[in-house]
């Protein structure tokens, strides 16, 4: 934990610059993927451009942006899983180990939320186990979108050819064909890919609310983490903080 002591208040670095960049790129990519993904599923506006069909690519651009966003999300997902294990700043995977202490802390964070902050018996200066699990859930949902999305993509490359070589469709088939059989065919894969979007939106809704709620009730400036990387915590006077 890095921080600067100032009386009883300590500023704590919770997100280095790189993590904040990842956070906002991830947000933008998910936002773009949702907007374009809904259009792909059900085109909700007509192309009113006065050009012949071959000269405008409204669906084409929606699909392109969706895929570019997916690439960004997928790369960030891989980076995130790497950082979970090998980050030099903080390794969230440690918080995911189901030790007795972590289970207690997890329940304490929930108790804090459901007692509306009347009970707070954990150290909010660092990543808590609840948020560690909650963030992991997002990455798993994004990973799931990666598998189902690539399955929906690869069947258009049925020829086995791609601009980067035959290995790419082969790899996608090898990695994602389990989704075809697991969800009862292509329509089933569409279903879960579409539905998982809603799960991600619900995840975002709770995440934003929870960070605002923490900011309001804990008074530790949690919402600032995503922007400045730091929050403040109170430290009782004593040898630990001096």
């Amino acid at each position: 934990m890095n921080g600067e002591a100032s009386g009883k208040i300590v500023r704590v670095l919770r997100m280095p610059v790189s993590w904040r960049i990842f956070h906002w790129v991830n947000f933008l990519a998910v936002f773009a993927a949702v907007v374009t993904g809904i259009y792909i599923g059900r085109p909700y506006y007509q192309a009113m451009i006065a050009e012949p069909a071959v000269r405008k690519f409204v669906m084409g651009w929606n699909r392109a942006i969706h895929l570019y966003a997916a690439i960004a999300v997928d790369v960030l997902c891989v980076i995130s899983f790497y950082l979970y294990f090998l980050s030099r700043f903080e390794r969230p995977v440690r918080k995911l180990l189901p030790t007795k202490e972590h289970r207690r802390e997890f329940l304490e964070v929930l108790a804090n939320f459901f007692t509306f902050n009347r009970r707070k018996r954990f150290d909010s200066a660092e990543l808590d186990t609840f948020n560690a699990a909650w963030f992991t859930l997002l990455h798993l949902l994004l990973l799931f979108q990666l598998f189902t999305g690539l399955q929906l993509y690869v069947y258009s490359l049925e020829s086995g050819l791609s601009s980067v070589g035959g290995w790419w469709p082969w790899l996608m088939h090898a990695a994602t064909d389990w989704t075809y059989w697991s969800f009862g065919g292509r329509m089933g894969v569409r279903w879960v890919h579409h539905f998982t979007m809603y799960l991600i939106l619900a995840w975002i809704a709770f995440h934003v609310y929870y960070e605002i709620w923490r900011t309001v009730y804990w008074r530790e400036g949690d919402i600032a983490i995503a922007f400045g990387g730091e929050k403040i915590v109170r430290r009782q006077p004593g040898p630990a903080t001096e």
Partner: protein, 416 residues
């Protein structure tokens, strides 16, 4: 093109060789030559001769050569194979075929026999030694059964069994013949001695419409029942006779079944999506869609995606070879594809409404439509999340305690 199998007829295993280079095509040509010489030396099973049949129906040699050229292209063979394809067509009467019908509407038989012709494809299906076909044959009852028995014994292990219609696995459904033999037993018995089984139409391939929810007869496709035999599925509702002819011609020409995909469909016909070769594809990419039947978009041949077209999810060659001798096809007449060559199409694909508005009840989705159920569940989930957040925020405001209210831990407020 890829020929599968070193044996006389092989299944969709990975044995075989791929013909992509000039040398490989030359090897394939020699193989086909050898095969055709053997067939030409053998006795025809059916005395119908193709040249005389064509002459009788007023087909010119030029029409026949045009057909040979188109069929060579259909099978993804180079133009140098045209003569071989023409030769193969004339020895198709060396291949015994038994055609059985189960739970179906006879639409595939109709597709073969349709009355706008006759086309060369149809004439060729006359040339094939069709030993048994309930819709076409004159005998019935015990006579028909005797003919079937005779055909099975004479051509044991050599005949191609063509199956039309799904097979009910539920007791009490589907019997044929004077002895009332169940479809299931009938298929098991006939497939045992067959060289290969070709399932024509979606019903025989995957159960099709009879297998649609709630599937009262527990209808199944051939591949659910027949094991240990080479199976080719030629789905669609109905299948395109050109694809059936392509499979048989491929067998006559090479002695092997064509390369199949993971659903046992011949790749030459089902190796690409309708969407990728659709005449309205440019409108899809452009974002120009038909919104309602008969609207401005419909009058301008815009994309039918929003009207429920399943071309993007369906593998078939109807966007190229079309139906009724290339006359037209569903999207050509202004309605979307219903994905009839995909498994479970009736429940999952066949609605002519915007996908998100479809309301086809399917099992496990609370009687909601496929796409609609996602949106209803998803919006419900978001609403629940929003409501939960609102309730929590309200209770926090009413009963919550901000940390600064704890005298021991709150930081002092800065005085102005």
């Amino acid at each position: 093109m890829r020929v599968i199998g070193k044996r006389e007829v092989a299944s969709s295993s990975s044995e075989g060789f791929v013909a992509r280079t000039g040398q490989e095509y030359e090897a394939l040509r020699l193989r086909c030559e050898r095969r055709l010489r053997e067939l030409e030396a053998s006795e025809p099973l059916n005395q119908v001769s193709l040249p005389s049949l064509l002459r009788d129906r007023g087909m010119s040699r030029r029409s026949f050569l045009k057909w040979a050229s188109a069929t060579t292209a259909l099978l993804f063979l180079p133009a140098s194979f045209e003569k071989l394809v023409a030769r193969a067509a004339s020895v198709m009467n060396r291949v015994p075929v038994i055609w059985v019908e189960y739970q179906d509407c006879a639409g595939n038989s109709e597709a073969v026999l349709r009355a706008d012709g006759p086309t060369i494809d149809e004439l060729l299906l006359d040339v094939i030694s069709l030993e048994y076909q309930e819709t076409l044959m004159a005998p019935s009852g015990f006579q028909a059964e005797a003919q079937l028995k005779d055909a099975v014994e004479t051509f044991r292990g050599k005949y191609i069994l063509i199956v039309e219609g799904s097979i009910p696995a539920e007791d009490g459904f589907g019997f044929n013949g004077p002895r009332g033999e169940g479809f299931l037993e009938n298929l098991k018995r006939l497939s045992r001695d067959a060289l290969a089984v070709i399932a024509v139409g979606s019903c025989a391939s995957y159960g099709g419409i009879p297998a649609a929810y709630p599937n009262p007869t527990k209808a199944m496709g051939v591949w659910d029942i027949v094991k240990g035999k080479p199976i080719v599925n030629i789905p669609a509702c109905p299948m395109n006779p050109a694809n059936l002819l392509g499979v048989i011609l491929h067998y006559v020409l090479t002695g092997a079944l064509p390369e199949l995909d993971y659903l046992l469909r011949p790749k030459f016909a089902f190796g690409y999506r309708i969407h990728d070769n659709c005449e309205r594809r440019a409108h899809f990419d452009a974002g120009e869609y038909v919104e309602r039947w008969g609207d401005e978009g419909a009058r301008n041949n815009f994309c039918l995606y929003k009207m429920g077209c399943k071309g993007p999810m369906t593998f078939n060659n109807c966007s190229i070879i079309r139906y009724n001798d290339g006359t037209n096809w569903p999207i050509g007449v202004g309605r979307g594809c219903i994905g009839c060559s995909e498994p479970g199409f009736w429940d999952k694909y066949a609605y002519e409404r915007p996908m998100a508005g479809a309301n086809i009840p399917v099992p496990g989705l609370f009687e909601l439509g496929i796409e609609k159920s996602v949106d209803i569940l998803g919006v419900g989930l978001l609403t629940a999340a929003g409501a939960g957040i609102a309730i929590h925020a309200f209770l926090s405001a009413k009963y919550g305690k901000k940390s600064e209210e704890a005298p021991s831990s709150a930081p002092p407020k800065e005085k102005p």
